[in-house]
């Protein structure tokens, strides 16, 4: 796999726009300070960020030995040092033992259950320029924001398939998809589904509280990479450029009353071992501060996008991905682990037996095209998708496949109180 070439100039861009885009790409001084909060962004003095970043910067994966890995695997409760060993290259030869241990821990905490959910993208407008993302503001794609009627229509189609948990997603545009719009979508979702999650741009505590009152109870925010230097070079424009505001999103969501929060790095953007360490420690330290919250981790790898099919996850092969997931499970036995449709069927079917507890089904990352996908009809004015998926199984297929693997599919295990 070649090194990622993220910069693509789409034909539709005006000369002035192109000039700005190129300047952002080439001239660091044209970009805002990514460590500085923008106006309106709430600051919480937490200390967790420095804790996580200090550990990550001090982590030298090459320094861990076979003996460190064996010691980690022999321990009943693994701590941060053990996690570092399990994420190191020295642990790769022990992958099978890690998988056995991970399966044991998953069984203790989750039995043989596997939770199913589906994402619903309601808008793909975006004000950020994140160079690897299909929704980025310079990518020439079909943009769309669903109306409330369209959202209801999509939700009814999804609910009719039997799905009970939904994850609502938007591109990151406060002006096109404001908090009230998302709140209305949550209220609608709460009528059609038992469990409503959000994966939207990070907001302030009072806004999270409002969205919680509208029916959402879980918030997912991907940090993408915890390496702030790499982050600065990948997120060139928009709110998302502000690294600490994004880092603190889960904590604000908790303070806003959300029951659960989810985390992830997008593997392939920077040193994946360091990113995996930071993701797990982000959960670990927050759990110590807010022990009553439910935590979960995802592990997406980079995927090709519209207008750039060369984007790939670099050195994160399935073996490395499996290592990360086993290390997560051994270090954080109680957290949920989600594996999305970015991964192929054979990987998802295998990993749910070891470490993953949640998989998506009936997935579309486009906007307003569920009718087409679910009923085989053509959807003419759908918005384009965020990335290419690798597993397009429907809920029915996924349910049957999970049962076939000896697992117990669960559609809901939650009440809103």
């Amino acid at each position: 796999m070649g090194k990622n070439q993220f910069f693509v100039d789409c034909a539709g861009l005006s000369e002035k726009t192109l000039e700005k885009k190129r300047r952002l790409e080439q001239d660091p001084s044209s970009r805002k300070n990514h460590m500085e909060y923008m106006e309106g962004m709430e600051r919480i003095s937490s200390g967790i960020m420095n804790h996580v970043l200090d550990q990550m910067h001090g982590y030298d994966p090459g320094a861990y030995t076979d003996a460190d890995v064996k010691n980690a695997l022999a321990r009943e409760n693994c701590g941060p040092e053990d996690l570092k060993a399990l994420l190191s290259p020295a642990a790769l030869p022990h992958l099978e033992e890690m998988a056995v241990r991970a399966r044991e821990e998953t069984g203790k905490h989750f039995g043989n259950t596997v939770y199913l959910f589906t994402p619903l993208y309601i808008a793909n407008y975006c004000e950020n320029y994140c160079v690897y993302c299909g929704f980025n503001c310079y990518n020439d794609i079909v943009r769309k924001k669903l109306t409330m009627e369209e959202i209801e229509h999509e939700m009814k189609i999804i609910a009719a398939s039997g799905m009970e948990e939904i994850l609502l997603l938007t591109g990151e545009s406060r002006s096109k998809s404001d908090v009230n719009y998302i709140g209305e979508a949550c209220k609608m979702a709460a009528k059609c589904f038992r469990n409503v999650g959000l994966e939207i741009y990070p907001v302030n505590t009072d806004e999270y509280r409002y969205l919680h009152e509208c029916g959402a109870d879980y918030v997912t925010v991907f940090q993408e990479t915890y390496d702030s230097d790499a982050y600065e070079k990948l997120h060139l424009l928009g709110h998302k450029r502000v690294f600490p505001y994004r880092f603190e999103a889960q904590e604000r969501a908790i303070l806003g009353g959300m029951r659960g929060v989810a985390f992830s790095a997008l593997l392939g953007l920077a040193d994946f071992r360091k990113d995996a360490l930071a993701s797990a420690l982000h959960v670990y330290y927050l759990q110590r501060k807010y022990p009553y919250v439910e935590y979960s981790l995802s592990c997406p790898r980079l995927r090709p996008i519209i207008n750039n099919d060369r984007i790939n996850p670099q050195d994160v092969h399935e073996k490395e991905l499996c290592q990360i997931l086993c290390a997560y499970r051994i270090f954080l036995p109680y957290v949920g682990i989600t594996v999305s449709s970015r991964e192929q069927k054979h990987f998802r079917d295998g990993i749910v037996k070891i470490a993953a507890t949640k998989v998506s089904a009936g997935v579309s990352t486009g906007i307003g095209d569920h009718e087409g996908k679910y009923e085989g009809s053509q959807t003419e004015d759908a918005g384009d998708e965020q990335f290419e998926i690798s597993d397009d199984r429907s809920l029915g297929q996924m349910y049957a496949d999970m049962e076939g693997e000896g697992l117990q599919p669960v559609l809901n295990d939650y009440v809103y109180v």
Binding site: V293, Q408, N412, D413, V415, V417
Partner: protein
């Protein structure tokens, strides 16, 4: 043990095995009823909050008493709401209070549990509170109107057995309500030991759910619980407690 029933909420039960709710499957419920003789089955309200395709309520035989639990509740207020929801769902008046403010160890919060017990007992529920084995909390639960006290033996799902043995023993000695040992029981021998100590019943789930042969392990638990109960009734528990009598009595010097 046909002549040795125990009573909860005015109902008589002959089986002293209660199926917990942690890891559910059809096979487990069937095994618990048919092989372990369970007459009470716990179910998490949050798992019944689903469409009929996988509703656990449909799997439970009618003559079994449902014990809905409030898992997912983080304080007394949430537990009370979930309990009321259970009643509305037609799960009856029994409720097991589970309040956890820790997603890692899932340890029960005794303070909040006492509060919820008091509210729900006043509303006519038969309240079975899951608790950390603390004597003061247990006394507060009695005062709050609990129908039994359910101390954990070890962290839930851990299969570590009677880690809290000495504290459960104190509850058995001091509390006049049935003591039902809940959570952490990993082997039939541990269930047997708890019954020998005088526990009224055993609640378990993971130990059976994760066994290689579920029906066979369910049967093993039934035998172990009955053996422990018989031993307790026979007075074995007291003999063990005091140890052997000294062959040369210490008080042999006393004359008049």
């Amino acid at each position: 043990m046909k002549n040795d029933p125990f009573t909860l909420g005015g109902k008589e039960f002959h089986s002293r095995f209660i199926l917990g709710s942690g890891k559910y499957s059809m096979e487990l419920i069937r095994a618990a009823v048919e092989h372990a003789g369970a007459q009470i089955i716990t179910l998490a309200v949050r798992r019944t909050n689903t469409k009929e395709t996988e509703n656990i309520l449909d799997y439970i035989p009618e003559d079994v008493t449902l014990l809905p639990n409030t898992s997912g509740a983080r304080d007394a207020k949430e537990a009370v709401r979930i309990a009321r929801m259970a009643r509305e769902l037609g799960c009856g008046d029994f409720v097991k209070i589970e309040i956890m403010k820790d997603s890692k160890y899932l340890l029960p919060d005794n303070n909040e549990t006492v509060k919820a017990t008091e509210i729900l007992a006043k509303e006519g529920f038969t309240v079975l509170p899951y608790m950390y084995p603390d004597l003061y909390a247990a006394r507060a639960l009695v005062d709050a109107g609990a129908a039994a006290v359910m101390p954990l033996a070890a962290p839930i799902g851990s299969n570590k057995g009677l880690a809290a043995r000495e504290f459960i023993r104190i509850l058995i000695d001091e509390i006049d309500l049935p003591i039902i040992v809940d959570a952490g029981i990993g082997r039939p021998s541990q269930a047997c030991e708890a019954m020998e100590m005088g526990a009224a019943a055993i609640m378990a789930n993971t130990a059976i759910a994760t066994a290689g042969d579920i029906p066979s392990m369910a049967g093993a638990f039934k035998s172990a619980i009955e053996a422990g109960r018989a031993a307790y009734l026979s007075g074995l528990g007291r003999v063990l407690e005091r140890g052997a009598a000294a062959s040369d009595p210490l008080t042999g010097f006393l004359r008049d």
